[in-house]
């Protein structure tokens, strides 16, 4: 019953004209960037972060989260119609979704994808609402030792589950930690790694780092790749799935929702992992696995449900524990900090209207997305014919204004360009940038909690293993690392991420 009371608070907060409007803007933008290949939710949220300064915290978070789950809907449109992942979590949807489109059944695939996403979204939002309060209660008992172990677990899992090479991911995390330490040390007042520059005494701005690495660097890399003609778009056809489609789809949708919801909570998880897992499961348990790749509706229903479920539940660790689990959540945590809210278990109690309003808005957003993506699919299809050479100057404009308007400072812009070039270098060297952002965000927090834990224990490092909660978290760390060393898991991980 408490849940109903909470949702009541949320309804009241979400159903203001202002918040509804920003929810609509968020999911529309999300669909847009989801549809367009070469522009993802991470870059978009990074670009729009500074512009949310002027909004209320609730409106800002509602809009930014709308971009993330909206992109999960939009990504499937491009995957099905063009055979390109509009969004990285839609990679597997290309396989069967586009095969269906070649058979003239694109409309049915689009409809099943949208319906699956909606069901998955609704169910996992309920899960998020139900799990939040009890989890936060546990988290409020955390001391510095537990927090340190939790963050360590977050970083370890992010490395294990991240795309690409493990060694590089660890190195990127450490570099992120180091970058997070730039600025004045809160305990001693010493300025660290500022190289005598007064602009760095408050640290490297979150906007600068995310915009450089995710905005500018991506544009440069895309410009290198983009050649030639706008893509071939398949015809949409009838949007009505057959009875047979529904019969085949409902089970994969529910399985996908479950898988996506669980994998989304894991640090380093999010939307993509669930989609891959769901596709593999559906193919494994199918009576005729050879149908997969030839336009099996299950291969659309499962992964598309899973990626949206994952997108929704990946909010749990960030909102409840204050632990961002992927790049998007790192940006969301950054957005909260910009508005003076420290993400963590205390947010539910201190700002209930913000917390529950955000959750209710997600459901409203999912409903809006259903409308945006089915009857209006024609509009998005037309957008696909806009070539990148006309698109990127506007992306660049948002980056420029975003960075410059924070402090009207040339220094910030120069630093952003530097990070953009560094980010380009990382892309070329196949170093995933997401762990760097997580490290950057967690660096100061980890140091603070390590110091406090060691001070409380009088310099005795066993404090991390003698406190039961902390020990549990550390055991999970070891298990996560151990999992990596099992050859079978390694091979699966390699296969899962190599299709990107």
């Amino acid at each position: 019953m408490e849940l109903l009371a909470h949702l009541g608070i949320g309804l009241e907060a979400a159903f203001t004209l202002n918040n509804l409007l920003y929810c609509l803007i968020g999911v529309t933008l999300g669909t847009l960037v989801g549809v367009l290949p070469g522009l993802g939710p991470v870059a978009t949220i990074a670009m729009l972060l500074p512009i949310t300064y002027g909004l209320s915290p609730a409106a800002a978070l509602i809009m930014l989260s709308g971009i993330y789950y909206g992109a999960q809907y939009g990504g499937s449109t491009t995957a099905i119609l063009v055979n390109l992942p509009g969004e990285s979590s839609s990679v597997v949807t290309c396989l069967d979704g586009h095969a269906m489109a070649r058979k003239g059944r694109a409309g049915a695939a689009l409809a099943i994808a949208a319906i699956g996403s909606f069901i998955a979204g609704s169910l996992s939002i309920l899960l998020l609402a139900a799990a939040a309060a009890p989890l936060a209660e546990v988290a409020l008992k955390f001391g510095p030792a537990e927090y340190f172990s939790l963050m360590l677990l977050g970083l370890v899992a992010a490395v294990v589950l991240a795309q690409g090479d493990v060694l590089k991911a660890v190195a990127m995390t450490l570099l992120g930690l180091l970058l997070g330490l730039v600025g004045t040390d809160v305990n001693s007042g010493v300025e660290r790694f500022t190289f005598g520059l007064p602009q760095l005494s408050d640290g490297i701005s979150f906007v600068v780092i995310s915009m450089g690495i995710f905005g500018i660097a991506e544009i440069i890399a895309n410009l290198e790749r983009s050649r030639g003609q706008p893509p071939q778009v398949a015809r949409v056809g009838s949007l009505m799935p057959t009875r047979e489609d529904y019969r085949r789809s409902w089970k994969p949708m529910l399985r996908g929702t479950g898988l996506g919801a669980v994998l989304g909570v894991l640090p380093g998880g999010g939307a993509m992992l669930g989609a891959f897992a769901s596709y593999m499961v559906e193919k494994r348990i199918a009576r005729h696995p050879e149908r997969f790749g030839q336009g099996a509706i299950e291969g659309v229903a499962g992964p598309e449900s899973a990626n949206n479920a994952g997108a929704q539940t990946s909010f749990i660790p960030m909102l409840v524990l204050g632990l961002p689990s992927n790049a998007v959540m790192a940006l969301m945590a950054g957005a909260m900090m910009i508005h003076g809210i420290v993400p963590g278990p205390q947010v539910i109690d201190e700002r209930p209207e913000l917390f529950w309003g955000l959750i209710v808005s997600m459901w409203i957003g999912n409903l809006l997305l259903l409308v945006l993506n089915l009857p209006l699919v024609g509009i998005w299809v037309r957008l696909l014919s806009v070539p990148y050479r006309l698109l990127y100057p506007s992306i660049l404009l948002f980056c420029c204004i975003g960075v410059y308007s924070v402090n009207n400072s040339l220094f910030d812009v120069l630093l952003t360009v530097a990070f953009g070039l560094l980010g380009y270098l990382f892309i070329k060297l196949r170093c995933e940038p997401a762990p760097l952002l997580l490290g950057y965000l967690l660096g100061p927090l980890m140091e603070e909690n390590l110091r406090r834990a060691m001070l409380l224990s009088r310099g005795d490092p066993t404090v991390f293993v003698t406190r039961p909660l902390s020990l549990t978290l550390l055991i999970l760390c070891v298990l996560a690392v151990g999992l990596m060393l099992i050859p079978r898991v390694r091979a699966t991980r390699h296969v899962a991420f190599s299709e990107d």
Binding site: G54, L167, A171, D185, P393, C399, V413, L414, V417
Partner: protein, 166 residues
């Protein structure tokens, strides 16, 4: 075909002894560089004890680990590479240069020229990042974006930025 064979023949003794992966080596150097910088600059900060950590304790720990990983990547790239990767053609300078220049130009020009013209200049410069730049198209896109930025960012969102030349 013959060229390829010839190249394979000349490259053979080299690749037998050493599968140098330039990407790994470069990444290793990069991380090692950051780690060493961290150690060097961080050595000035008091490290304190494990109980009362100074400003230098945690940075030292992180930098040291970063150095270790840099070395590991370096070793892997030099001797344990799975494929031979050279730096030829890995980096294309033109887009990086054009995009950087356009962003810096925007920030430099904005205070004096205003949003509309700074946006136009940014668009034109960014257009140089492509192989074939159509001046007419860039002018059109730039003007449209300039107008858009004045309307949305200048008047709409009310950011404190000059719209026109002052």
């Amino acid at each position: 075909m013959r060229d390829a064979l010839q190249r394979a023949a000349t490259a053979r003794p080299h690749s037998l002894t050493l599968n140098l992966d330039a990407r790994e080596v470069l990444a290793g150097c990069l991380f090692l560089g950051f780690g060493l910088t961290g150690l060097l600059v961080g050595s000035a900060y008091a490290s304190g004890t494990a109980m009362r950590m100074g400003a230098g304790y945690f940075p030292w720990l992180v930098s040291l680990a970063l150095c270790g990983l840099g070395v590991a990547l370096l070793v892997r790239g030099l001797w344990l590479g799975r494929e031979k990767v050279t730096l030829d053609g890995l980096f294309i300078v033109r887009p990086a240069l054009a995009i950087s220049a356009s962003v810096v130009a925007f920030a430099l020009l904005l205070p004096s020229l205003g949003l509309a013209l700074a946006t136009l200049c940014m668009t034109l410069l960014s257009g140089l990042g492509r192989h074939k730049a159509h001046l007419g198209e860039l002018l059109a896109v730039g003007s449209a974006l300039g107008l858009f930025s004045v309307l949305v960012f200048g008047y709409g969102l009310g950011l404190n930025l000059p719209a026109w030349p002052v």
